[in-house]
Amino acid sequence: MSDMPKADELFKSIDYTPPLTGWMETPVDFSPGNWCYPAKPEKIEYINSKLPGLWGTPREWSPGDADWKLPPNWKETVVNGFRERLEKFRTLKLFMDICVRCGACADKCHFFIGSGDPKNMPVLRAELMRSVYRGEFTLAGKILSQLTGSRVMEEDVLKEWFIYFYQCTQCRRCSLYCPYGIDTAEVTMMARELMHLVGLNTNWIMEPVSNCNITGNHLGIQPHAFKDIVDFMVDDIEEITGRRVKAPLNEHGHEILFITPSGDVFADPGIYTFMGYLMLFDYLDLDYTMSTYASEGGNFGSFTNNEVMKKLNAKMYHEANRLGCKWILGGECGHMWRVVHQYMDTMNGDTQGPQMATPKSPITGTVFDTAAATKMLHIVEFTADLIKHGKLNLDPSRNDHLRVTFHDSCNPARGMGLLDEPRYVLKAVCNNFFEMPEGTTREQTFCCAGGSGLNTEEILEIRLRGGLPRGNALKYVQDKHGVNTLACICAIDRATLIPLADYWAPGVQVTGTHELVANALVFEEGEERTMDLRQEPLPGFEDEDDNWTPPNAEEA
């Protein structure tokens, strides 16, 4: 982050005045930092062997070069693909036709708010595509191209797409304010599908896609390594609580299959959330298993095209059937839940085995009819139900060193409507909870600016600019209420919000909701803990810090 401007300087550099040149004439900046690295050819070769014909030609190329090595028939491919998708997606056809350019969406996008680049106004982002729609497919656009803002597909247009459709996190905030519900996420998905057809892709998305397919998770953790990591977490839990928890993997004959994003297995602070799940399930003596084969809740396919989204998602039912599970419990994740809530049953519902049934909490007996079709329940719903029934012995004072606020992830907020349950859980497990300002939470929440596959280092400045609205709201509660912890229910958040907070609100740490649940969870009457899941001393036990060696310190 050494060449990054300081937060104040970056803030001062934001200018909302549009350039003097029209947007079609304004050149695009292709210097490094403005684009994600393209996918390694072998990743494309692999996925092309599984789902042929959707990926163009695997090759080495760079957006910084003048020649992107597009296939000779690229224009035809894109235009035909566009036409095909107009028939397959009413959203696309409608959203291409009905925008009146009222501009209500303009300052709703976090990337626009943080950059001032007019092409980051959702309306103009979609115009990048609409202009081509009018120029290629409508009579008025063909005859009166200048007057109607129309143009035909050209290489420069495609390159502009690559830059700006990878500066959209598909967070849908604009679609909330649009009087016609035009959803830029949908437009971005279509543009990315078309770009994939001619081999324009990013490695940060395609490598996870390929990994998810082979190993079951986006990091490519192989089954034995996965088990090692889980065992390691079980050791840590024992260190903290004195209790050795169960962590069943790939076991047949359990009622519940638990699937969570693999980011939580791999990286701090997600691992604490994962430990939280393990502790909760052990406390409940839950009849469940996890799977190394379906060890990724997140669906990186949803950042590429609907075919891969379906293929990767299909693993969940496939594994539930194999292991004989009745229903699936899903961990804290954003886009995973968009896919589960709005796509999964439509795509793969017909592959559910006869053993599957509407989720029913074995602890409280609650039947979750709202998940009757997918047979998949959100962990926060599950835990909220437990708390409501008084099934958890909680000591929220164990989180008293934390002053907590909650970040609604875009997808659960605007692609699901899961808003009150996580707040209910958080308020039950910690005493100091504060909301960020109105207009930045719930359905109006701001993105972490790393969603939809943009969580990569090479575009860090773009991400931090896009992170301004969230970061600034966070700074507000930090200054006002002394907030030092940002809770969330998304694994991508747990990765992206850390640099965001370090930059815009230094001193705030990021945590999953179930980390705080497990902190507060009293295993048995009289259980005393001296440290939290991060092995930091709890209030009242700070003294022990001096003569206490962190476990595993030798290994580190």
């Binding site: 109607t148 009087p179 190993t215 034995h224 790939n250 609907n306 795509m347």
Partner: protein, 345 residues
């Protein structure tokens, strides 16, 4: 520039009937042929477009959720029924609010940046101007369109008379001034002004954004001129318009040329309508992020082109690939043979 082009273009359009009727005496063309042709184009174009949208598939159920969904415990977690509908009836209310009250636009906020002593601040405040301008414009237009039914129906329906009465309630001037006339002119001017003055909106505006506004302004002004200044012969006009709907064409001599200008501009609007962004009128009803309930976790939705051939990378292949390592780590295997045979997938 785009605004100027549009204005000039509308001026030219006004000149056409002025010359055509006054100088060239083509009353039949301007009073009958053009409006009827325009109406047919409007009708067919409108229907074609809507049917064409309707023929596109709706593969996924993707409402934008604007509030708390229906929870497993609706008492503890109260559903926001009309921003996050779960049933058909709730979705219907959401659509009614969207179409008749511009619900989403009502939510509008304005973001601004401030440098304060405490550091940078991004502030958001409610911004309802666009909503106000839009609702003034659309309702005025709607009321005026309904009032015009008087010219095409005999007897005049009661609600048209009622509407006229309410619209003219202030009883100012003679003929009585209609509120909707003021609303329409004011609404158009405000929307135009906003489009020209707001730098961001100005930046994204094409000729095709200004043109309909200027055209509707010209229609409104020509109508106002006819009613309040030229005081055209309404009885003669009704003779003409009833002739149009009964296919019994007749053009009384006493009709002022301003009527032909008005009708010509309306004809242009009708022809322009189906090929332009004005199709947001029917479009809003079809928008999949608004007109579908948020219930796909509870109810199966069918994607007509769902491809059953896309299947998961199978567990059997996975176990073949990782069998030895899995066996060594003590993970259960479905096929014990995989423990030994390492194979590349």
């Amino acid at each position: 520039m785009n605004a100027l082009y549009s204005l000039l273009f509308v001026f030219l359009l006004v000149l056409i009937p002025l010359f055509g009727v006054d100088a060239a005496h083509m009353k039949t063309i301007f009073g009958v042929c053009i409006p009827i042709t325009a109406f047919i184009i409007f009708l067919l174009g409108f229907i074609y477009k809507v049917v064409n949208w309707g023929r596109s598939a709706v593969p996924f159920r993707i409402p934008t959720t604007g509030g708390q969904f229906k929870s497993f415990d609706p008492v503890l977690f109260k559903q926001n029924k009309y921003d996050c509908p779960q049933t058909g009836a709730q979705t219907f209310v959401r659509m009614v609010l969207e179409v008749f009250a511009f619900r989403s636009l009502f939510r509008n906020t304005e973001a601004s940046l401030h440098e304060t002593k405490g550091g940078p601040v991004v502030a958001y405040k409610s911004s309802k101007w666009l909503w106000l301008f839009a609702i003034t414009f659309h309702y005025s237009f709607f009321i005026i369109a309904l009032r015009h039914l008087r010219l095409f129906l005999e007897p005049v329906p009661f609600f048209v008379n009622g509407l006229e009465f309410v619209d003219g309630l202030l009883q100012i001037g003679a003929p009585t001034m209609y509120l909707a006339d003021i609303g329409l002119v004011a609404g158009v001017l405000l929307l135009l002004g906003r489009r020209m003055i707001n730098p961001r909106v100005n930046y994204i505006s094409y000729v095709s954004d200004y043109f309909p506004l200027f055209l509707i302004l010209a229609i409104a002004l020509s109508g106002v001129y006819m009613r309040y200044f030229a005081m055209v012969d309404v009885i003669a006009i009704k003779e003409l318009t009833m002739g149009l709907v009964t296919f019994n064409y007749h053009i009384p001599e006493t009709i002022d040329v301003s009527f032909f200008v008005h009708v010509f501009l309306v004809s242009v609007l009708m022809v322009y309508f189906p090929f332009s962004k004005l199709m947001h009128l029917p479009g809003v009803f079809l928008s999949p992020t608004r007109n579908m309930p948020n219930d796909t976790r509870a109810k199966h939705h069918v994607n007509p082109w769902n491809d059953p051939n896309i299947k998961a990378h199978s567990y059997a292949d996975y176990e073949k690939h990782f069998g030895p390592a899995m066996a060594e780590a003590g993970l259960p295997l479905d096929n014990p043979e995989n423990a030994g045979a390492e194979e590349k997938a």
